[in-house]
């Protein structure tokens, strides 16, 4: 089992309370409105799905949450701190980790090294110490390595520990990317299309890992996914976007039955 580091458990937010609140957020690129006036919340311990057709603003929304984009209007409250601008490293050090739609790993580095990069923000020793790789720096690395090994064990990727990531099949690369996010021991995990391009078996494995992360470590998860079967099975609540606007929000059953969602996204069975 992963150790949950003290600073993340010390947060006074109990399961079921609002962990992250998005209030009236709008995002523009020049004249293009990517997100307009969207509000929703993510509660501690839940699996929250964001769905919608292509170009609906789902990834932009994740980018706002982890500080990659700055919304022109609105606020994002995370763990009780309300701000308009979050910077990516602030988001990361306050417990938000993410994976990307197109796998963003270091192709020439091994699985182990890639996952070790997820621990970077938690390394306290400076550059010189790290270069010396002796004494406290070594002790620190061993401790981090242990966490990483637990992640490797958890995701069952022991066999590819030393394999350069570029040589791995796509499904495994996605798993390594999840591993890197998990190594940061996040409180909020943002997953951008974790199952895209996977076959059925890989999808089933990934679902199992996502559920286990959620149940075992209590990690809150926000995910974007197009596979409706996966979304409806995994998530506790779903928010639906279309052309940058929120058109529905609720439990999978509610959303599935919503006429606007059917028209915009799900379509009807003919």
């Amino acid at each position: 089992m992963l150790h949950v580091s003290p600073q993340s458990t010390s947060a006074a937010i109990a399961k079921g309370e609002v962990l992250l609140n998005v209030e009236n957020v709008s995002l523009r690129f020049g004249g293009v409105k990517a997100i307009s006036d969207v509000s929703f919340d993510i509660r501690k311990g839940e699996v929250r799905a964001i769905i919608g057709p292509n170009g609906a603003g789902k990834t932009s929304m994740l980018n706002c949450i982890n500080g990659f984009y700055f919304p022109q209007e609105g606020h994002i409250t995370y763990k009780g701190v309300r701000r308009q601008k979050v910077r990516p490293h602030e988001a990361a050090s306050s417990g938000i980790a993410r994976t990307f739609q197109n796998v963003a790993l270091f192709k020439g580095m091994s699985t182990l090294d890639n996952i070790m990069t997820g621990r970077l923000l938690k390394m306290k020793r400076g550059f010189l110490w790290q270069c010396l790789h002796w004494g406290p720096a070594q002790a620190e690395e061993i401790a981090h390595r242990e966490t990483v090994e637990r992640v490797i064990d958890f995701l069952e990727i022991q066999a590819i520990r030393k394999t350069p990531v570029g040589r791995l099949p796509y499904g495994l690369q996605k798993r390594v990317e999840l591993g890197r996010a998990l190594a940061a021991e996040p409180e909020l995990l943002l997953l951008d299309e974790p199952m895209a391009g996977m076959n059925l078996e890989e999808k089933e494995d990934m679902c199992r890992f996502i559920l286990d992360v959620n149940q075992q470590f209590g990690t809150t998860i926000a995910l974007i996914e197009h596979d409706m079967g996966v979304v409806m099975d995994l998530s506790d609540r779903v928010v639906v976007l279309e052309y940058g606007r929120k058109i529905a929000d609720g439990t999978p059953d509610v959303v599935k039955a919503d006429q606007k969602v059917i028209d915009a996204y799900l379509g009807v069975a003919h």
Binding site: E149, R150, F154, Q158, A159, R208, D212, Q215, Q216
Partner: protein
Amino acid sequence: MAQSATEKLDTFPKLLRRNAAVRGSNTAFRHKDLGIWQSWTWAEVYEIVRAYAVGMKALGLVRGDKVAIVGANRPKLYWSMMAAQVLGAVPVPVYSDAIADELAYVLDHAEVRFAAVQDQEQVDKLLSVSERVPRLKTMLYDWGRGLRDYDHTHLHPIEAVIAQGRARLSEGPDVGAALDAEIDGGTGDDLSIILYTSGTTGRSKGVMLTAGRSIAAATDTVAFDHLSDRDEVLAYLPLAWVGDHYLNFAQGLVAGFCTACPESADTAQADLKEIGPTFYFAPPRVFENLLTRVMIRMEDAGSLKRRMFHHYIAVAKQWGEKILNGQEVPLSARLSYGLGNLLVYAPLKNALGFSKVRTAYTAGEAIGPELFSFYRSLGMNLKQLYGQTEAFLYVTAQPDGQIRADTVGPATPNVEIRIEDGTGEVLYKSPGQFIGYFKDAEKTAETMTPDGFVRTGDAGFFEVGTGHLKIIDRAKDVSKLKSGDLFAPKYIENRLKFYPNIKEVVAFGQGEEFVTVFINIDLTAVGNWAERNNVVYGSYQELAGHPDVYSIITAHVDAVNAQLATEPAMAAAQIRRFLILHKELDADDGELTRTQKVRRGFVGERYAPLVKALYDGSSEADISTEVTFEDGRKGVISARVKVKDATLFPATSTTGKAA
């Protein structure tokens, strides 16, 4: 703890206690966990198993209960077997990749009340069939991921059971004394384990083995191969298979050697390299895959390395086996081989994890002579054995110095073998042999003769002069030619299939004057030859009918005939005529089983005009067959197939006796 080392060691718990007392500080188990090898000494294992047994007893396990073991090779599952045996309960290891339906049958048939399993996957599988296994009440698991929210009334982590047992043991000496009494109460006649056969022919049967016989068998082979407590094995074979239970569990406890468990099934190859076992077993398929990988990687190496590799492999081929067998070899060859060892063989063996292997075995199917000598020429002591679950493994094994690719060796010590007249079936009486199939007296009676011999179902014969056993085929497939001579189709087919150019063979001859075969060429190997020799072909059919291909195959058939001629039992079954089929045999057309075995009878009917041509002396025949394409559409292939005569050789005997 231990009372005395001189008592009768007729059960595995007594052996464990002996090992803890005699070599307590030696490493007994290793397991790679979180990337680091963890180890436990015999004393530690004994302490854990005792605590585990007390914990299991508290959960209600009693003498005679059956405990299912489901999962990969992990120390805690081996300890589950040991702890169950301490209490006189019977472990029933089950193939962990078995589908739920098969699992339900075995668990219900074995009447298991407890199960020790690896992880959530196995827990889910068992829960899904729980209504079909009403007796199964308690489940213990090794790895808790994903199981936190399960109902834990009847589900316990193994770790917690051990901790509970430990707490009880510390309460007072009574608990420990009661446990010692349990161990002392066990006798050699107790059921030690039930191993279910894999069930390729009908439902699985539960093979009952007793403690005393198991230990007697293992003691013999430990002495035969000089195994000691300094040896080490990597346990990667399925727990439910007799090979793992015998080679690792039983021999491990008898000899006191160390059993290393891989990190996961996928890492076994890398773990093998890290552990460097001294005793190794693998089926021929594994050795073949390894060789293919080596050859492919050598093709990618630089030209200097590649030339060095090929030069020294040629040297090894010429002298390696002779040196290994201790034969006379010129000094120059010895020097050349020594240099090759420094430059090629030792690094190669290191890369494969075979550096420290003293004894390696292969068994299960026929191994190609080329493949077999490749490993032996590198200086690896690879040998063959023949055995089965009912014998508790060994029936025959090759002693050091008498190694051959085409025999399985003479009977192992204390094993008696008899060849039944008429059928040629091999019968044996072995120290480890089973006492019967669990709840199946009828099958037991079919398998055991009244005078205590066990039928193997395999036909074979002893080679004249050496006393080595040769297994030729399943007894039910062996038949007679019209002349009354033995006809073993599989034996002939395998001989031909050892040639890389030949992919599949179907032999005919039952009740006929002589033997004939259908041959499928191997498109990769023959296609490669065609490319190098500028032979142009448009399809499999065209290549198969090419006159040059026919001459290559004729040479192979003649060579096999020459080998058969040297074996008195087989000389009459030389191949007189053959043809190369115009299409590859395919499972989609029903010609092969899904496991790629030829369905001889079906092929014979489907290609009846060709079989007729083989026997009526015609030099070609027309055939049209319906084929199924991969998308399910049907089509017809027509061809004119040539029939060729092969060279026959007069029967000679290897011992030089006049034929």
